[in-house]
């Protein structure tokens, strides 16, 4: 009876990804699990204008494998390195009653709770969740390469990649003529060398392109006075995200500004923007005024396309309503598009005040109010909002 050796065969190895089908199914289950929790995840994750390749750790449930196992009160046995004493701390307790993963026996190991998912996939799942039509999904995912520069003449300084050979050669010729080193007229004479000099080098000069067609700023305004529960955060964040994605596909250079307000407004980061702020009263006008100030200071409408959107739960001090209306009107003047979205998860609209009635009186063809009660409203509201874009007629 001899032993059989089967040598390694490259072809088999390349053909034999036997786990492929099961890995795919596992991946689908993870995705399903993420989809069930997408609102929680998006509510806590900064996604606006972030790198699509970024990998996020997402906590997931529902793909653990369950069995009857012993619980936390089960002690275990392990080996020490020679003189272990009672009372010594030997490790950290796991959340699952398992002890160290490498102990003898066959207890199931600790299941992982987090999975890596790229921002891109997360956004894809969010689009699915918001029931975006496929075509729109595709469009919103295209990122044109931003070209922020245009050529403007030639300089004697620059970087090597922008060296312009033609202008450089001409500069050398000019210099040669100027120094009377013409080519020799005697046949057989070796013409003396006339090498390039640093002064001959000519570089293409680039300047930042500041045309109006290519610049846009998205101003996100939200009141942080009320309670921002997960669903509200999710709705607001996904709306702002869609808006940003849309603007990015239209303009080359897009900036984004977050303004959080209660009774006073301040500019914040995305992370702060989506975190529960202070409770208290609300002056909507403060947010609009802040937006106006920022636009006046950094984004002059002659150079920038301004898109502003305000998410709120509709609470405002009555005394502030006239001011709110006035500032909203001013904001509509400087914006391509200005919108007000009232986020009222179902059932809350009957006993809370609303600004929707107040804003009816605002006469501006580029101003739009929407009411968002559930995630299915996001996409239609978004469409309705964009229909008012002033930039479309140009």
């Amino acid at each position: 009876m001899t032993t059989i050796f089967r040598p390694f065969r490259q072809a088999d190895a390349q053909r034999s990804d036997r786990a492929a089908g099961d890995r795919l199914r596992h991946r689908q289950k993870i995705r399903q699990s993420i989809r069930e929790n997408i609102a929680d995840i998006i509510a806590e994750e900064s996604i606006i204008g972030k790198d699509r390749e970024r990998v996020i750790k997402v906590p997931i449930r529902g793909i653990k494998e369950y069995r009857f196992i012993y619980g936390e009160n089960a002690p275990g046995v392990a080996q020490g390195s020679g003189s272990t004493q009672p009372g010594q701390v030997v490790g950290k307790a796991h959340r699952e009653g398992q002890g160290p993963p490498d102990r003898a026996g066959d207890r199931p190991g600790v299941d992982y709770y987090e999975t890596d998912v790229s921002l891109d996939e997360l956004i894809d799942i969010m689009f699915e969740d918001l029931e975006l039509p496929d075509l729109e999904r595709k469009r919103l995912r295209e990122l044109p390469a931003p070209q922020l520069t245009k050529r403007k003449g030639y300089r004697t300084v620059g970087i090597r990649v922008r060296l312009d050979k033609r202008h450089t050669a001409r500069a050398r010729l000019k210099r040669r003529l100027a120094t009377h080193h013409g080519p020799s007229h005697f046949p057989g004479d070796q013409p003396p060398r006339f090498p390039f000099h640093d002064d001959d080098l000519r570089y293409r000069h680039m300047v930042a392109d500041l045309k109006k067609e290519s610049n846009a700023v998205v101003v996100c305004i939200m009141d942080t006075s009320g309670s921002m529960d997960t669903m509200k955060k999710y709705l607001a964040r996904s709306f702002f995200f869609l808006l940003y994605q849309f603007i990015v596909t239209k303009y080359r250079n897009v900036e984004i500004v977050f303004i959080a307000h209660h009774t006073e407004a301040r500019e914040v980061t995305e992370g702060e923007f989506f975190h529960k702020g202070e409770s208290g009263g609300t002056f909507i006008s403060s947010g609009y005024q802040k937006a106006l100030d920022i636009v006046a200071e950094r984004y002059h409408p002659s150079l920038w396309n301004v898109y502003a959107f305000h998410c709120s739960d509709g609470d405002n001090f009555d005394s502030d309503n006239p001011a709110a209306l006035r500032t909203a009107h001013e904001l509509a003047q400087v914006c391509n598009l200005f919108g007000y979205g009232e986020i009222k998860p179902l059932g809350s609209r009957y006993y809370e005040s609303s600004m929707l009635n107040i804003f009816r009186r605002l006469e501006a063809d580029n101003f739009q109010t929407v009411l968002i009660e559930r995630k299915e409203d996001i996409w239609p509201s978004f469409r309705a909002f964009l229909a008012k874009d002033r930039g479309r007629e140009q």
Binding site: M1, T3, I4, F5, R6, P7, F8, A13, S16, D17, R18, A19, G21, D22, R23, R25, H26, R27, I63, K64, E65, Y66, R67, F68, I69, Y70, G71, E72, N73, A74, P75, G76, V77, A78, Q79, G80, S81, G82, S83, T84, Q85, P86, G87, Q88, V89, V90, G91, K92, A93, E96, G97, G99, P100, D102, R103, A104, G105, D106, R107, Y112
Partner: protein, 477 residues
């Protein structure tokens, strides 16, 4: 990277290793080796080494997990992967050094001999292993491809069966009595014993056995019980349950003998390589690698190390006992090697450790008991003269199938509405409730009626139930 040796080199070494193994008295199945790359190895590991296996997402998950650990360098790949079949099948990683291949080949023969001769494996029918796994795979695939069944109906059944696959009888050497036999025994037990002085004694009462109860005595094979007693299951559902049950049965002996088996293989690879006259360069690498395999894990427990130490100690106690040991054992009439071969045939991890892990060895290994206090794991007992027995008892509770709670079907028609009533034989360790709840849901899925599990939670008798309305708990008197 091609290794600087050929398959012919390996075959030449294999020849010498086999001769050496036979000289030591190892008795093996025929052996096959397959050279593979690390991707194939990950694949084999995910499917427990089986060349063919039915599809299920959990194997995809296992693969991802192994690959993640491997890619991040947390764990290397094992040097060896060998399955209990005849011929025994083992995989060698082609990127390994020559010495590692020699070490692995020797190690594999240790496992091979153990599979063939250990009593626990008697029921595994190794000559059919590969073909039966292949047949299972084909059947499951057929159900998945069947348009009237499909993956979306197969998967929930397999998920549920996986959750319960280890809730079965542990000792397969003991024949399971048929329901008829159990009933006859009950009737027999109900009869009054024969009494020569019947005239003098008062007649004992005739106790009528309850023959209507199903099962007549508590049944540990949960999956099989459901398969045989739920009339609403389709034929393909029964088949899936059978397949999952049979595969679990096949792996139980390996769960039951992990420490012994790894210790045995490590012991013999050491013996064999010590007798091979390795060239100096290889000898040095061998010492390093061997110590990597059988080194202790402080704060954990390395089955290779524990098994290896116990085997060494058995041989020493019979060949070269101390005065006390001599007094204790007397003249055993056999040498260490004979004793080792006897133990390798008759024991499993629990008995192996109970009989041969002595107090001095327990102390030498510095085994201790730990428990969770707050967020820390704290040493609660060490192997000193007053609590080494407790440490040992706990160790016996955490090897092999002792890590799986004993849960038996007590009554399939509880309260007259086909509720499945199970009882957990509580041994001081509570069930993890989150898992118990989910597992009961799976049980409910297979039984299709209410299921209830009686257990102790914090010392109180508690009934965990799962109905169409979900999970509930209530205290019992």
């Amino acid at each position: 990277m091609a290794a600087p040796y050929t398959v012919d080199d390996l075959m030449a070494w294999d020849e010498r290793i086999r001769e050496q193994a036979a000289a030591f008295g190892l008795d093996c199945f025929p052996q096959e080796f397959e050279l593979c790359d690390h991707n194939q190895m990950l694949g084999y590991m995910a499917y427990s080494g089986m060349p063919s296996h039915y599809p299920h997402w959990s194997y995809g998950k296992a693969y991802e997990k192994l690959k993640t650990l491997y890619d991040y360098g947390v764990s290397g790949l094992p040097y060896e992967m060998v399955i209990n079949s005849s011929p025994a099948l083992a995989y060698l990683m082609r990127d390994n050094t020559l010495l590692l291949q020699i070490l692995t080949i020797a190690h594999v023969y240790g496992h091979n001999d153990f599979f063939k001769n250990n009593a626990t494996f008697r029921s595994t029918r190794p000559e059919f292993t590969i073909s039966s796994f292949k047949a299972h795979a084909a059947r499951v695939r057929r159900y998945i491809e069947d348009p009237s069944i499909g993956l979306e109906r197969v998967e929930p059944i397999v998920d549920a069966a996986h959750a319960l696959s280890l809730q079965c009888r542990r000792n397969l050497a003991i024949r399971k009595r048929t329901i008829e036999e159990v009933r006859n025994d009950l009737i027999e037990a109900g009869r009054p014993p024969a009494d020569p002085f019947q005239q003098l004694h008062r007649r004992p009462k005739h106790v009528e056995p309850d023959l209507r109860k199903v099962p007549p005595e508590p049944d540990e094979d949960v999956l099989l019980f459901i398969r045989d007693h739920n009339p609403y299951l389709a034929e393909w559902e029964r088949d899936l349950i059978t397949i999952v049950h049979e595969e679990a049965q096949y792996f139980i002996p390996q769960i039951e003998t992990k420490i012994m088996n790894e210790g045995w293989a490590s012991y013999w690879h050491k013996q064999i390589l010590d007798h091979l006259d390795l060239p100096e360069g290889l000898q040095l690498e061998f010492i390093v690698r061997h110590n990597q395999v059988v080194r202790p894990f402080p704060g954990g427990l390395n089955p290779y190390h524990l098994g290896f130490k116990v085997w060494e100690d058995i041989r020493r106690r019979y060949d070269d006992p101390t005065a006390e040991e001599r007094a204790e054992i007397g003249d055993p009439g056999k040498n260490g090697l004979q004793k080792m071969f006897e133990v390798r045939e008759s024991d499993r991890d629990v008995s192996f450790l109970r009989r041969h892990l002595t107090e001095p060895l327990l102390r030498e290994l510095d085994l201790f008991e730990y428990e969770a206090r707050g967020d820390d794991l704290v040493v609660s007992k060490v192997a000193d003269s007053e609590s080494w027995r407790d440490v040992k008892a706990l160790l016996l509770q955490s090897v092999g199938m002792a890590t799986v709670p004993v849960i038996k079907v007590d009554d399939a028609d509880f309260s007259g509405n086909r509720t499945l009533y199970l009882v957990h034989a509580h041994d001081g360790r509570d069930l993890l409730l989150e898992h118990a709840e989910k597992t009961l849901a799976y049980l409910h899925r297979l039984w299709q009626r209410e299921v209830a599990l009686e257990t102790l939670v914090g010392g109180k008798r508690t009934l965990l139930a799962y109905t169409d309305r979900g999970f509930s708990t209530k205290s019992l008197k």
